[in-house]
Symmetry: C2
Subunit: 416 residues, 2 copies
């Protein structure tokens, strides 16, 4: 099969020309399941928060002007006309020269515009003596002072953490519209591949990629759908990929895309829909055999069989597509600066990614050490790596002691 | 009720003396549900990975010594004795002077110790001519070179990301033992509180804390159990808290712990089990009414009713307990340095936490701006805040332009 290696930038451009990631849909979920989902619409406040003038102290609701001049040794007397409890509508009104007992959280009665704290008041029968003056609005929250009715309070595309969920609860929303998770079918191919948990006969190895890729899909907001392992046999492969494309929004395969005699995935993809394969091999290391297809509007990433290469290609190409289809804003990759512990060499003419592990140095900085450079088949390379260093196509090499930018697989703690 | 304010450090010490967070249990989950769970045991490799000497190229399996001296213009001839495919046990042996055709991923036949790449070989009938020499081990992975049988490959307490899940799959594990999520009962109290989704009658407000706290519990690896809202009435409260303690490992209440006439939670907690309330009020701002109890071995955090105070106390006190009971390593809090945009004042004699939002300055640094300082009832304070600045008890104040450490509610992107 004709294969023309593309540079990484070309591959990204061709993908962009052929496919624009858009959210796959909207669904309504209860607040209890909304954590870490993405808002599919602006949220407009249907009510004021608080919904009424609310006392923030235990004390006495007053007209502030009535207290002016009150001092420690010169209290002002007010007539006590009743009390309000939390959760009740006040039945009394505060007229000039009068007051109403109130507790934290209770609604201010009509006529009151401030609260005098319990501590500054002495009560005798139906009269209270306040030893402090208060200004208008003191010790209370005005209706709508937290959130105004009709205010746009949360924006479409925000990810919902505990704090945004609090805002939705405050407004009385029990349900929220969020973007659907894109369904990502994950298929491993190869006659030697066995599902973990089953016995391993000679010459076979366990399936790694379906599991790493499914977990990586979850990490970026997709919903992985695991399919059976298929041998590199045209008819079975065709049937499985057809089924996968029918049930999912994105398809990921791994294995079966190097140049050996059984590499039939690209041929099969071309028979399944238009335009078929759009990128067939990328000038990167590791991950050269990576193939991208669009089949009747659905993106297909055929990742290499080697676990490290496979997950790297996922990170640099597929991740942003899944994020886009999940309605998530493309996040800036998390990077840290570190000092290279050893020389790192690029592969000639290819964008090179060197897996590194990070350790602290004595002065509080970070040191990036290459992990088992070149052994892209090694799953432990991946498990030991905290991230990768990117070496551009025209770059010579990185020297020990050079400062490098490390792209992290997940955020480090305490990076300041 | 007698109340003695504790400093934050005292409160932490008393909690530590009365309760040691330990994992609540272990459960087995399939790999597909293992993402972001915590390993409950060391993982020892039951097999070599790869399980056999494995070709990493398409080509010819050889004895390396047979190829020594081969060059572009001086090929060496070897007798072709068969082929091996992926997933099969080789039936042939490579004897001196012979070779076997092989593909990527197939097991090396007995006798072979290297692979010559397809590109350097010309085949004529049953003889191949190699134009390159290979050294022992070239273009192959030795059995166990990735993971050795009996090696401790993952450690107890590791959090499982896509990469560790790949390691488990490679070893054939379909299930993995992880720590159980601690069950955290979340109870809101107050006569004015209404569940979101229900109509809001006058004087009532929607329940915020049950939702923010439940989401925060999820964020640190716990499993929130939502219970009904209970009014501040002794018998109902007693029954609900008893039920919550029976069904959960930790109890969180919110509201009902300030000094007003209906603050009955501490009294009720003291009737439920020993030792009861151990910290009754903390010299912090916001969050002073926070109460901690231990009831027959289970920790109870009674958080203030104000949403910001409540979530702050959760972050500085409850979070580390939940992490410990989830078997998660106490993570270093994520912090960044920023320049204060305005003066920040501590409350006299109290540890003060100022909510701030972060923005970038022109030189690529960060600016921390106080959010609605002092309005701890405002849920929007929380929604707008990226984190908080801690001001120690004896500290005077922070000046505009001072560099401050901001504790982030969640990791920022691109912090390098």
């Amino acid at each position: 099969m004709f294969r023309k290696l593309r540079s990484l930038d070309e591959a990204k451009r061709i993908l962009k020309q052929n496919f624009t990631p858009k959210p796959v849909g909207v669904e309504q979920v209860p607040l209890s399941l909304a954590h870490n989902r993405v808002l599919a619409e602006n949220v407009v406040a249907p009510i004021d928060v608080p919904p009424f003038n609310r006392s923030t102290m235990d004390g006495y609701a007053v007209k502030a002007a009535d207290t002016f001049g009150a001092e420690e040794d010169r209290p002002i007397a007010l007539k006590l006309c009743g009390s309000v409890r939390v959760g009740e509508t006040p039945k009394v009104t505060v007229e000039k020269g009068t007051t109403v007992e109130i507790v934290t959280g209770a609604p201010l009665p009509k006529g009151a515009d401030a609260v005098v704290m319990l501590e500054y008041v002495v009560q005798k029968n139906n009269t209270i003596f306040t030893h402090r003056s208060v200004s208008k609005g003191e010790n209370m929250m005005k209706a709508g002072s937290d959130i105004h009715k009709d205010e746009v309070i949360l924006k479409k595309s925000q990810t919902l953490s505990s704090r945004e969920i609090g805002v939705l609860a405050a407004l009385g929303f029990a349900q929220v519209n969020v973007y659907k998770r894109p369904r990502v079918a994950v298929v491993s191919t190869g006659a030697e591949i066995v599902e973990p948990g089953k016995p391993l006969s000679p010459g076979k190895i366990y399936d790694i990629n379906a599991h790493t890729i499914s977990a990586a899909v979850t990490e970026c907001g997709g919903e992985p759908i695991s399919l059976e392992i298929v041998p590199d046999e045209t008819n079975q492969l065709k049937a499985t990929l057809r089924k996968a494309l029918d049930s999912a929004d994105i398809l990921m395969t791994s294995g079966g895309v190097s140049v050996g005699p059984t590499d039939i995935i690209p041929k099969v993809l071309n028979t399944l829909g238009k335009p078929g394969v759009i990128v067939s091999g990328i000038a990167v290391k590791p991950g050269k055999p990576a193939t991208i297809a669009i089949v009747d509007g659905k993106p297909v990433f055929s990742l290499p069989g080697h676990p490290t290469s496979s997950l790297l290609i996922f990170h640099i190409l597929a991740r942003s597509v899944i994020l886009g289809m999940a309605g998530r804003r493309e996040e800036t990759p998390v990077t840290v600066k570190a000092v290279a512990s050893a020389k790192m060499f690029p592969a000639r003419g290819r964008r090179t990614f060197v897996m590194v592990s990070l350790t602290g140095d004595k002065s509080g900085g970070l040191v990036a050490s290459p992990v088992a450079l070149g052994l892209s088949g090694a799953i432990t390379t991946l498990a030991k790596a905290d991230g990768f260093v990117e070496i551009m196509e025209r770059q010579q090499f990185i020297n020990a002691g050079d400062v490098v930018t490390v792209h992290l697989f997940k955020p480090l703690r305490d990076v300041s």
